[in-house]
């Protein structure tokens, strides 16, 4: 029982880390390797507001989200749109996007180093115990989990119950046909990418209350997010959530009952198994 709850909390953290990348990769078709830098920037925002004026990270996200949205929109329009325009196939776009965002990730690290310095962003927020069925959990993790549920729920409702959401799903499935039914693909892609960035930055602000970040830790989160997105199925938000929770429970299970040293091995084993048995991801559609 204890394992399931701890695992769920970790799964919530993973969902926060990965959902934004899924929007960017699945919907806007940009494999964004600079995703982790956005997360760290969001975390820094929370750190800065908390240490300078004791503003709770739960409020900071309302500042961080629009900023990240604007910045990511700008990055898409200036840097990535030319790639989308000239790409003859999805494969070519993927290669170009990976190379470009790989470069962007270095730019991101450099800019953050210059602005914030290389020190750890370490602060204590809601590091209090919560009792639940006889076990203790960190309140900050519980809050982050609740935020993850709210955020993912809202995204899910938006994507599956609104007209705009349906359009976004349409461009994820087939950008060429989406244009035929009157969807403004370039502008919607830009917004989907920007939304992904905003979600990632919010995730960063929330996880920074219990993870210690510094300017160059972004790549760790990019990798984790990548694994989760691929496991869940590219372009499917439900798959990402499922994969995040699955990974969280598996890692906690291994850490508690076998050995904490084997969590990484177990995570990658699960990744390989899913790639072998369901290469399109848990809930992904096979590409035709």
């Amino acid at each position: 029982m204890d394992i399931i709850f701890t695992g769920l909390l970790l799964g919530g953290t993973y969902a926060l880390i990965a959902t934004g990348l899924n929007l960017q990769y699945g919907m806007a078709r940009i494999m964004n390797l600079a995703n982790g830098e956005t997360l760290v920037a969001g975390g820094f925002g929370a750190f800065w507001f908390w240490t300078s004026s004791q503003v709770s990270p739960l409020l900071t996200i309302f500042v961080v989200a629009p900023l990240a949205f604007a910045l990511n929109w700008l990055i898409y329009v200036v840097v990535l749109r030319p790639l989308v325009k000239r790409a003859k196939s999805r494969g070519q776009l993927e290669v170009d996007a990976i190379l470009t965002t790989f470069g962007l990730s270095f730019v991101g690290v450099g800019v953050m180093l210059a602005l914030f310095g290389g020190d750890y962003f370490s602060y204590s927020y809601l590091a209090q115990p919560v009792q639940f069925i006889g076990e203790t959990y960190g309140l900050n993790r519980v809050v982050a989990f609740a935020a993850a549920v709210l955020l993912c729920g809202a995204l899910w409702i938006w994507l599956y119950r609104s007209r705009a959401g349906m359009s976004v799903r349409a461009i994820a499935v087939s950008p060429d046909s989406a244009r035929l039914v009157g969807i403004d693909v370039p502008s919607l892609s830009a917004r989907a990418f920007a939304l992904g960035g905003a979600v990632t930055a919010v995730g960063g602000a929330l996880v920074s209350s219990f993870l210690t970040l510094d300017a160059s830790t972004g790549v760790i989160f990019t990798l984790k997010a990548l694994i989760i997105v691929i496991m869940g199925g590219v372009g499917d938000i439900r798959g990402t959530i499922l994969a995040a929770v699955l990974l969280g429970i598996l890692e906690t299970f291994v850490a508690t009952l076998i050995d904490p040293g084997l969590t990484l091995a177990a995570a990658y084993l699960l990744f390989i198994l899913i790639l072998l048995l369901r290469p399109q991801g848990l809930l992904g559609r096979a590409r035709t």
């Binding site: 309140l139 993790r141 300017a215 850490a255 969590t263």
Partner: protein, 396 residues
């Protein structure tokens, strides 16, 4: 008349120039600005490079005979990647023609670069390397110096402190021990297992976790379930913070709570406040030594941040060794300076440094403890100013 005056002025200027020739010494510095160790280097390494250059130049440069040399620092980011450290040292030696190269940051990067320092004839007085096999290293690289101590001394110091507390009846003999699965954590844990047993401690929980683990709550729960009297973690900065936070959440009731790297960082105290009281960590300083206090004040003034209470002062001390050796040898010839380093002892901000037969500084801090907001050394292998340890009592 005017002409003559100009002439005399010029002559005077030349004369002054002859007596006080001022030149520039190029000093290389290689360390992580990005990558996994960048956060540690940003606290312990880079601010000291800045402070030292500032101190030397403000004092009018290094006095070598009747020439004064201002220092100019050339910095490289090695991305916490040994291959990049090697490439950067090579570049400093061949392209930038650096007169001296300060030691890199961390055990792994120092050892990786040792052959290159050796090949180009640069003395390497390390400040952030902890290693066991000093004999082999000094035989292989005669200009390699270790100042921060050996893993065995670090672990030995901790076990001595714990034994003392146990004999005073303050703690029991069960220990939960965890380590980060990385060269540093593994080496210390391997040293610790037999030493704990020898000292009569029983290890009731023993586990490792991968570097960069996002959730350490299963580790802390496992440790808490074993109900230990003491908790010991050979940890790196992000996990030092995470383990402490989990211990507070679990309300881990132990008499000794020890975490390794970053426990002595000012940000540890800032983050945990009162809860940090009684936490033990690797390293230490003599916090009451006016020499150290003066250094800490200058550090804060020049770099805008406080030094940590362990390796920061050691990093600055090794830079002082370069400085004193260049001035003492009276030349910037590397061979002569290297010889001066080998044959002399040095007076630094952590106190005197002398070498043993393996170019090793035998007197170093091993364990420190947060006591009322100050991280104080409680055990060393021959430093002055050790204070008595206190027992950890709760997390409030």
């Amino acid at each position: 008349m005017t002409r003559l005056l100009t002439g005399t002025a010029l002559a005077a200027l030349f004369a002054a120039g002859g007596a006080l020739a001022q030149e520039t010494l190029t000093i290389g510095a290689v360390g992580p600005k990005t990558g996994p160790l960048a956060g540690g280097a940003a606290v312990t390494y880079w601010p000291n490079v800045q402070l030292w250059a500032n101190d030397v130049n403000e004092a009018g440069g290094l006095q070598v005979g009747d020439t004064s040399y201002m220092v100019e620092i050339v910095e490289y980011d090695d991305q916490t990647n040994p291959a990049q450290t090697i490439a950067a040292v090579q570049r400093l030696a061949t392209q930038d023609e650096a007169d001296f190269i300060l030691p890199p940051y961390s055990t792994g990067l120092n050892l990786a670069a040792a052959p290159i320092y050796d090949r180009y004839g640069y003395p390497q007085v390390t400040s952030t390397a902890n290693t066991g096999n000093v004999e082999d290293l000094s035989a292989q690289f005669p200009n390699l110096y270790i100042t921060l101590g050996a893993a065995s001394g670090m672990v030995g110091g901790l076990i001595d402190v714990m034994t003392e507390l146990r004999e005073a009846g303050e703690i029991g003999n069960t220990v939960a021990m965890v380590n980060v699965a990385d060269a540093f954590g593994i080496e210390l844990a391997e040293e610790a297992r037999p030493l704990f047993e020898e000292a009569g401690f029983e290890i009731v929980y023993d586990s490792s976790y991968p570097l960069g683990t996002q959730d350490l709550s299963p580790v802390m729960q496992g440790a808490a379930d074993a109900n230990p009297d003491s908790f010991v973690a050979f940890s790196y900065p992000p996990d030092t913070f995470a383990l402490t936070e989990q211990a507070i959440i679990e309300n881990l009731d132990v008499g000794v709570f020890y975490t390794a790297v970053a426990t002595a960082f000012p940000s540890y105290q800032e983050r945990f406040g009162e809860s940090a009281n009684g936490v033990m960590g690797i390293g230490g300083v003599n916090a009451d030594d006016p020499e150290f206090q003066d250094y800490a004040a200058r550090h804060e003034e020049v770099t805008g941040q406080a030094p940590d209470s362990w390796a920061s002062a050691m990093v600055y001390s090794t830079f002082q060794i370069y400085q004193q050796a260049i001035e003492g040898a009276g030349t910037i010839d590397r061979e002569a300076v290297a010889e001066y380093i080998a044959n002399n002892s040095f007076d630094t901000v952590i106190g005197p440094i002398e070498w043993d037969e393996n170019n090793n500084n035998p007197a170093y801090w091993t364990v420190g403890q947060w006591q009322d907001g100050v991280f104080r050394g409680i055990a060393s292998t021959g430093r002055e100013g050790e204070v008595d340890p206190i027992v950890k009592s709760g997390w409030e």
